[in-house]
């Protein structure tokens, strides 16, 4: 309990950031929409996702902040898309953890 000098790796920090962004049903729903459609407009989403527009906006900006999506102004609306580069990073990181976990053959008893 003494060598607390080293905090977390940036890998761990980044992974937690991605996971946290995915940690809310509204945000999962947003991503499901973006996965099933070519793109999504705020308006379309607010038809489907049961929260106030301002709340939706907040969740969208959290996903943007985490780098998982991006928005393009397409007047009179805004078009949201997956940020493929960061999404790929996230997939790689999650896959790594899952691989390490499941590759560990120890069985708990």
């Amino acid at each position: 309990m003494n060598n607390k000098e080293k905090a977390f790796t940036s890998e761990q920090e980044q992974m937690a950031r991605f996971a946290k962004a995915l940690g809310h049903p509204v945000r999962i729903a947003i991503l499901d929409l973006l996965a099933s459609q070519t793109c999504c407009y705020h308006g379309d989403m607010s038809e489907v996702i049961p929260v106030a527009k301002s709340t939706l906006s907040q969740h969208l900006s959290e996903l943007k902040e985490a780098g998982l999506i991006q928005g393009t102004l397409t007047l009179p609306s805004i078009k949201y898309c997956i940020n493929r580069e960061n999404w790929s990073r996230a997939r790689t990181m999650f896959a790594g953890l899952f691989r390490d976990i499941e590759g560990n053959s120890y069985v708990c008893r």
Copy 2:
């Protein structure tokens, strides 16, 4: 903005729950340890992870709550392990989202 009657699917809720549990550096660090070792004792973890023991305990119980790990009393300590069944569920769910996202060939512009 009218058909707000249907909330989220249980799939979405569950996925968010898993992701939320992964959404903190301490908890990622715990899982990294569990992935690299056959098992882990609270004491061992508190040597490595820079938080108070009580805080560590809290994070452990959140991972337990989410079903991602389990603890077995192995006196005089407690041995923590991955919950393989739920971990496998999580992997499947994440893989599904990643597949859907990356399988979508639309490129944002």
